[in-house]
Symmetry: C2
Amino acid sequence: MQVMKNKKCVVLLSGGLDSSTTLFYVKKKGFIPVCLIFDYGQRHRKEVNSAIKIANYAKVDYYIIKTSLPWKGSSLLDRRTSIPNNKEINSKIIPSTYVPARNLIFLSYAVSLAEAIGAEYIFYGANQIDFSGYPDCRKEFIKMLQKAVDVGTKAGVEGKKIKISAPLLNFTKDKIVKLALKLKVPLELTWSCYKGGKKPCGVCDACKLRKIGFEKAKAVDPVK
Amino acid sequence: MQVMKNKKCVVLLSGGLDSSTTLFYVKKKGFIPVCLIFDYGQRHRKEVNSAIKIANYAKVDYYIIKTSLPWKGSSLLDRRTSIPNNKEINSKIIPSTYVPARNLIFLSYAVSLAEAIGAEYIFYGANQIDFSGYPDCRKEFIKMLQKAVDVGTKAGVEGKKIKISAPLLNFTKDKIVKLALKLKVPLELTWSCYKGGKKPCGVCDACKLRKIGFEKAKAVDPVK
């Protein structure tokens, strides 16, 4: 990725490992990020505080979008259901933590922000290697959404293309951990666990993926 | 359009002429709509009340999504700017009332709702004939977004396609008025004017398009 004259970009920041690493990665590349943080009724609302701390640590601007998906349709939103503790992660079965069209919604806001401030890039921490099988974290989705953005925005039709990029898309989790360490991402501020308790549960998919990453990278997770 | 076994659908309802007519049109076709109404910081917030009244009149369920686009980037959101009073509507120039990625955001929520409730169709009142040139009201955009939804949602990858449909896409405004009259849409409850004052301003694009529709249909607009 080349850094263009226009250095403004939008970064979707959840406060987890992947999006935080993405933020520091694009900063290192010379971009001037504006982060988008979503407070959308997630069980692990704690991640919002993490995201704010990380944005402040990185000295970047951010917006917090408070919204809700009152129809829920996900164990990540609906407290009457429980977060699955699967023994193994099977990325071929989409788990109940999938939130209907969530990344489509988040990216839509990002497109709006990018268009309003004249940013050329949107970065998001999607990963399709060590992941839970979420369809909105895959290359095909990004590719098609890109086409919709190209024809469906003023920027797009006027030739000022807004590019959606997921630089960690094909990274293994340990590669992400290694990159985070190299970039000095404040990992102690990040939050991944879906349950959002005092300490990470250690058994949800988010905890398991994070654990795999640190173990394979032979690193110690500062969040315990 | 055939009515399938699954009659649930999502309708984006702004409270204006086109979306209200769309709602009554799909009801007539036998669908059971759930409406989505957005309170997003628009100048003409009055339309939200219209939408609620229309949904109640139609006896359909609805959700109101309260959100904001704090970066604005549109005269429809930013009260420091003014709504243009163009002499003529030139659909080749996108006016300042274009809201960055607005319909992408709205449709994303609609996809989320459709997926959560298992609805097969999303209907929205986009029109690319008598319109202000908004790129997110055009067929190309819907087509590409459809592809993103097909690959980027659980429903899509599992073969339970969610279809985005704009039944009035190629209607002239007078054809929409005639259809509204035929369907007994409570036109007196609708609101189109971008300025959101006590009475319609008569000179903004929304007022002008509405006026053209009623005049060509040789009908009287009950909203004066």
